[in-house]
Amino acid sequence: MADTVIYAMYDDDDVLKDGAKKLVAKGVKVAEVFSPFPIHGIDPIIGVKQTRLGIMAFLYGITGLMLATIGMRYFMISDWPMDIGGKPNETYMDNVLAFIPITFEFTVLCAAHGMAITYLLRNKTLPGMPAQNPDPRTTDDKFVMEFRMSENSQFTAAELQAMLNETGMIELDQKEIH
């Protein structure tokens, strides 16, 4: 879908945030913000929802906990119950204390790696992926707001640029995408 994208560059995170706040109040939709570091407080202004990766981490952790429990119950209780010093493993509960360290470690292992893999997949940041920031300086000290004309059809490009000029931006770029 053909669209006109406008990139407004700033040299300060606070100026960008101030500008974003004013633009959003006027009804402008900010499509994306590119920044070298997290700008705290920008998410609610431009409408980025809090991520649900934390819930995923919990679910991965629960999975690890269950796998460790089922695995150790099978290895140590049902498949080959070891009788160590006359202390047999009749039931899982007989021996649960010895299983706690590995249960914990495996829970952490699954939660951490599951979340990290989900994070990379959701971000589409994987080895060999091309960089998508509009300007190489946005990983150094510049901050860019992206607007799509299709999402801001109530304004013309000229009107949007006039509003942007009041927000202390330093550079403006326009691009047609197909």
Partner: protein, 482 residues
């Protein structure tokens, strides 16, 4: 003006820095040619490391008999080095995880290199149990894999198997934590790099990171949750290492205070190693504005606290060995202090109990030279601690006819020295090619903890100068900075 924190807090970034200068300061050493000193140090470390690898090959080809072990002392040098390296490997994740949860901003200058150090130290630690197996290539037998020996599983009741899970979880989670933090910084280097081949390398390493708002939102949550799960992990790992001893029935090992005592000792030695490395690195890479006296002082306070915990643990052990009324237990400790290994015991006591107490004096804990000396003393002391615990507890068996001594063979020494060489090979490569400071995270604390922003000498942005509000009064969440 809520970017500001209390004026009484010392600034964490000295002088006036802009975002761009932070990028420059961290990326310059990577983009420039390495100094001659780097090549010299790298060559020395590599030679020592290769000598160690040679010793390991000789060991694997000949057998464990080349070590200085005997019938009575069946566990000595190898496990000492294992515990020593794992202990050193405790600072990085403590700094990045525990200090993140406590919102300690000063961690940002040191967490990257401390984590790198952790990972390399755990590599070295992991090497020892593997070579101790004698047959390195069957190391995977420690995993619960289906096999053709009937349903023969590894023993989940054994602390040695707990160790397998603890160390491998710790290593892999630390690695992931470290790498997720590195991705945005690799992107910064990628976008600056002019030379085509390095640019290609950093493009691969940076996974196409673009710094989108949603990605940063996820990044912050992932860091927080990883810190949350890594914090109990740090404490569990060395607790489990201590179970290797504490769950045995050897007097001197069979001690219920081992888990907290080992964890405190691990943090103690880990921070000492961070000090040793960073005091050199900040000078060599001109990072004095980011890692300065205040950071060193904070770390020295951690060393002082954990060193005191270790000191109390030593005294508690002595008291309990007497109070227990068990003569074998009492003898184990009398023998440590007055037996043939008295020199090892008193080296440990001097290095670990007395030296951290000197940190109560403010001029001493703010002295970089003093800190450097103490950091090395502490790691010598912590090596002796493990050697004392392990060897003195077993060298005098219940039967005096079995009494023996442990003397390391030259292979023992070679493997140990070799791991130090390999560790420095890894660390020097890291310092050469990786961003040694979490540069993009540092930018988030620039306005709250940078010196020029704290004393109002930083220029006000023209936009705010024109629009009337000089400060950053719309910044609500200055506590939220990781």
């Amino acid at each position: 003006m809520s970017h500001k924190e209390a004026a009484i807090r010392e600034p964490l970034i000295l002088g006036h820095k802009t975002y761009h200068e932070i990028t420059e300061d961290v990326c310059k050493p990577i983009e420039d040619k390495a100094p001659r000193m780097w090549y010299i140090l790298f060559a020395i470390a590599l030679i020592i490391g290769l000598y160690g690898v040679g010793c390991i090959f000789y060991l694997l080809g000949t057998g464990i008999g080349v070590w200085g072990l005997n019938k009575t002392v069946g566990w000595a040098w190898d496990i000492t080095n294992f515990v020593w390296w794992v202990g050193i490997g405790h600072a990085g994740t403590l700094i990045s995880a525990v200090l993140l949860l406590f919102r300690q901003k000063w961690r940002m200058a040191i967490n990257r290199s401390a984590e790198a150090m952790t990972i390399f130290a755990v590599f070295m630690a992991g090497l020892f149990p593997l070579i101790h197996m004698g047959r390195l290539w069957v190391g995977y037998w420690t995993l619960p894999l289906p096999n053709h020996f009937g349903s023969l599983w590894v023993n989940f009741n054994s602390p040695l198997l707990w160790d397998v899970f603890a160390i491998s979880t710790y290593l892999s989670v630390s690695l992931v934590f470290w790498y997720i933090g590195l991705i945005p910084d690799f992107a910064t280097i990628r976008d600056r790099m002019k030379k085509p081949i390095p640019k290609r390398m950093y493009t691969i390493l940076s996974f196409g990171w673009s710094g989108r708002a949603k990605h940063w939102n996820r990044f912050e949550l992932v860091s927080l949750v990883l810190a949350g799960v890594a914090t109990p992990l740090v404490f569990s790992v060395h607790s489990i290492v201590s179970f290797d001893f504490a769950t045995s029935v050897i007097p001197g090992w069979h001690t219920t205070i081992f888990p907290p005592y080992f964890v405190a000792g691990a943090v103690f030695s880990g921070f000492a190693m961070v000090q040793t490395l960073l005091l050199v690195m900040r000078k060599a890479m001109k990072l004095e504005a980011y890692i300065h006296t205040k950071h060193v002082e904070y770390m020295n306070i951690v060393i002082m606290v954990t060193g005191s915990i270790v000191g109390v643990a030593y005294l508690t052990e002595l008291f309990v060995s007497w109070y227990s009324g068990v003569e074998y237990e009492a003898y184990a400790f009398i023998n440590r202090a007055t037996g043939p290994y008295w020199w090892a015991y008193w080296s440990m006591m001097t290095c670990n109990v007395i030296s951290p107490q000197l940190m109560w004096f403010r001029p001493l804990r703010r002295s970089l030279l003093f800190t450097f000396v103490i950091s090395i003393v502490v790691n010598i002391g912590m090596w002796f601690e493990r050697y004392v615990i392990i060897v003195t507890s077993i060298h005098r068996d219940y039967l005096p006819s079995s009494w023996s001594m442990h003397f390391p063979s030259h292979i023992d020494l070679g493997v140990y020295i070799g791991t130090i060489g390999l560790f420095f090979v890894f660390f020097l490569l890291f310092a050469r090619f990786f961003p040694v400071l979490a540069l993009n995270e540092l930018k988030t604390i620039l306005k709250s903890s940078g010196e020029s922003y704290k004393n109002d000498t930083a220029p006000v942005h023209p936009y705010f100068a024109k629009n009337g509000h000089a400060g950053h009064d719309h910044h609500e969440d200055n506590n939220h900075n990781h």
